[in-house]
Symmetry: D2
Amino acid sequence: MSSTSILLVSCPDRKGLVAAIANFLLSYNANILHADQHQDAETGTFLMRVEWDGSQFDLPPEAFEAAFTPVASEFNMSWKLSHSGIKPRMAIFVSRYDHCLADLLYRYQAGELHCEIPIIISNHADTRWLAEAYRIPFQHIPVHRDSKQEAEATQLAILRRHHVDFIVLARYMQVLSADFIRHYPNRIINIHHSFLPAFHGARPYHRAYERGVKLIGATSHYVTEVLDDGPIIEQDVVRISHRDDLDDLIRRGGDLEKIVLSRAVRLHIEHRVLLYANKTVVFD
Amino acid sequence: MSSTSILLVSCPDRKGLVAAIANFLLSYNANILHADQHQDAETGTFLMRVEWDGSQFDLPPEAFEAAFTPVASEFNMSWKLSHSGIKPRMAIFVSRYDHCLADLLYRYQAGELHCEIPIIISNHADTRWLAEAYRIPFQHIPVHRDSKQEAEATQLAILRRHHVDFIVLARYMQVLSADFIRHYPNRIINIHHSFLPAFHGARPYHRAYERGVKLIGATSHYVTEVLDDGPIIEQDVVRISHRDDLDDLIRRGGDLEKIVLSRAVRLHIEHRVLLYANKTVVFD
Amino acid sequence: MSSTSILLVSCPDRKGLVAAIANFLLSYNANILHADQHQDAETGTFLMRVEWDGSQFDLPPEAFEAAFTPVASEFNMSWKLSHSGIKPRMAIFVSRYDHCLADLLYRYQAGELHCEIPIIISNHADTRWLAEAYRIPFQHIPVHRDSKQEAEATQLAILRRHHVDFIVLARYMQVLSADFIRHYPNRIINIHHSFLPAFHGARPYHRAYERGVKLIGATSHYVTEVLDDGPIIEQDVVRISHRDDLDDLIRRGGDLEKIVLSRAVRLHIEHRVLLYANKTVVFD
Amino acid sequence: MSSTSILLVSCPDRKGLVAAIANFLLSYNANILHADQHQDAETGTFLMRVEWDGSQFDLPPEAFEAAFTPVASEFNMSWKLSHSGIKPRMAIFVSRYDHCLADLLYRYQAGELHCEIPIIISNHADTRWLAEAYRIPFQHIPVHRDSKQEAEATQLAILRRHHVDFIVLARYMQVLSADFIRHYPNRIINIHHSFLPAFHGARPYHRAYERGVKLIGATSHYVTEVLDDGPIIEQDVVRISHRDDLDDLIRRGGDLEKIVLSRAVRLHIEHRVLLYANKTVVFD
């Protein structure tokens, strides 16, 4: 398929919004492929994702902003334009558990994730072999209690050097500092191994086992300064029984983590996630 | 909430469609509440559902057709306008199994289904008590092999007298004739107790049990002349194990049937189902 | 099917347990229909449910205790014998939301729940019509902040008079006192409208909506003195999206509540739930 | 954990079976870890899986048969003894789609699958890189219409040379001959990319897309001479919508295939699958 353009819009809801956007795109000969919109009645917010065929579009990317600004201003829009031909650059952070990393790398190699992976960063060396099998640069940056600030500075330098657009925490077991997070606002995706908000924080499988729940879950969310509290992108659960011991929970949960994280990453890459009120609208 | 208007449109996909519809609605001061659209690339079909607040709309219902026809003609649209204030009239057909009937009646009484139920028709008298508990007229029309044509004539007369808009077969165990179906094209909703196309036809739970499947399903679809082959509105499944005998399958399947049928009925009542190519687009 | 007997056993795990129970039952000519057991490695607990055909069993119910006590003592067993022919007596407590009540009553009438329902108790009169449709005695006992103790005394008297074995809280919106709960330890079943431990306490759907979760849940558990903290019998979830507003969550959650509560009630009635370490083993 | 022994038994149901097996194991000092049994009322079949700690068991493996035969004969048992310490040898057959292969290899490397993988056989060379990354021998055996018999002879020779116990068809796109299958009865595991029996045979995703189903599925089963008709080990489904085109179905179905196949393989390896009446009992 040829390249497409994607416009994400959010603004106060008002009459005439759809017509204004549709007329603007039509005036430059856009052939709309997909359009999704949502009106949140409670907050009076309008959110839209529209995707069109770039090949016949009369407006060159570099001229878009100037042309669209009058429309955007009239309706007080926040907006973002992306092009499917430009692959976002994703860094992966990982610790010792490697199942999410292996899954992301396989999907990347199989062409399921339309992104570049310029760098994998880990506080351990255990997963280097996987990075090498898929020919992705790997950087081992140990993190100790008293060297965390320094480690984060090194990480940030590497991310900048590789022009990283967003970060995926593929079971990265270190808590990032508020300062680090501010460098990538709503651009760090985490996988938490519980059905949030249940069992936020440490050792969720152990606590799920003790509580005797009948389903375990996994949650992928954007990282904010409050631990495990950021906007949720995707969640799922799987049924367990008394026949599953703690090791079974960890193994079965691992499968969920892979699926949930990879879905969230794909949704982010394809510009399907809009944020408002600390939650997401996902146009899938 | 005040009354809303809903427009369903399907037509060959073409540039300018969204703008044309949005501009038309804006010109009569419509405040759009929800808009969903879908482009089917394979068949080149455009499908849309748009819902707006009726209270500020400047075009009275009786003038809509004349005003909209120029737009519809230009794009070769099939379209249908509905108003949430006008409740569709639903007849329920039932035999002896009463779980789907009980579920629909409870939901109707609880205000979950925005419809009228002027009549329940059954080939048995067993469910009369339920009709009476919910104060819905009940008509017992026995159907025998050699009286089927006559019975259908009686049924059709009753449906006409009650101005019925669509029919729900809530585990009605008689096959309707092609002639009967032609009176209510795409307006008869059936629940089949399997995950179609698996186990179409008779005794699906028995066959599922024999085949040793690990999940059983239920499917709600519009009735066409080919048995169990009409457009699917909704499906779902539930996991079973060897610990479930045939009675368990029937009991657990019954729960699925209720959920799946009631979802399909609600989707139909709220004008969320569009048809093309013997399948459905469901804007839920 | 003829009547069956069910033995529930829990004790410290030890060699020879299965043989001892199997030999005991065989010596009285029991024809075992189902047997399930579980060894919890962490706590060293053995749990078993065994069901046999009562018709050929040589030991009359009144002689069971004397005959089984030597085996039970040797292995330090807690045990309970039940007979499928003796229906447990279930009281239903309800407030204004009636969907769970309607569901339980339908299932009871359809023969899905092998119990008696001698009484429905409510702090409101709204559901009296449902009780009357299914011909179950209904008692309206208003509960106000300063009359709670008195109301509970009245409730307890009614429960005693009706020889109630266990209580189902079918969306009963009053918190029961610790004193009340002590009268029915592990014999009060509640439905909480969230995936516990997430959103325990009040208004879970509102909080789920605000948090932006992608699945909502329902949990059925035994009531203990700590709110929403008792042993979980059954849970399930359903997927939601941004297209679901708060009313949709409540409606879709209501369907879950019905399914989850009725499953838990059936499991309890069929003596399939064993308790240990504030959680349950469910032999389904 | 130390090594365990697993006994699978199936026979006509009869009084005294559980006692006989429990007494036999107790007489040699077995410490039972798990025991599951099932009585199929319809066919009068008794099926059991019992697992015990091998470290304290007084009967050496080579003496088991002689000691157990009297019990087995009395009850006309089919039985099979396995030891968790002896890893079964699994061959993987694959064609061009590599997602199931990559998933199995990752799980094998991560220690999730307690087996050996002595050989991967493919009719294409595309997946050689994956075999090499995980250091598993890879054999490319092209299969053409007129060379199939010869190719199968080569495959069988390789399987024999590697002492293969069972074969996994990880999206192997060739139909195996009846003669080949007879060499590995109930020891060839296939993944079919539909919810069988729906869409058996070729191109299931295309047909699912055309039929407009609302869920797609995957099924893992033992291979028999009748295509896609063998005993089902595991199945699962995932919800789709009109927003999913054929490519989405294939991608989302691929995730299901991986999960379902790997679950089936693990169940087989852990001796949790019993066969009767062309279906399976899975003691999970």
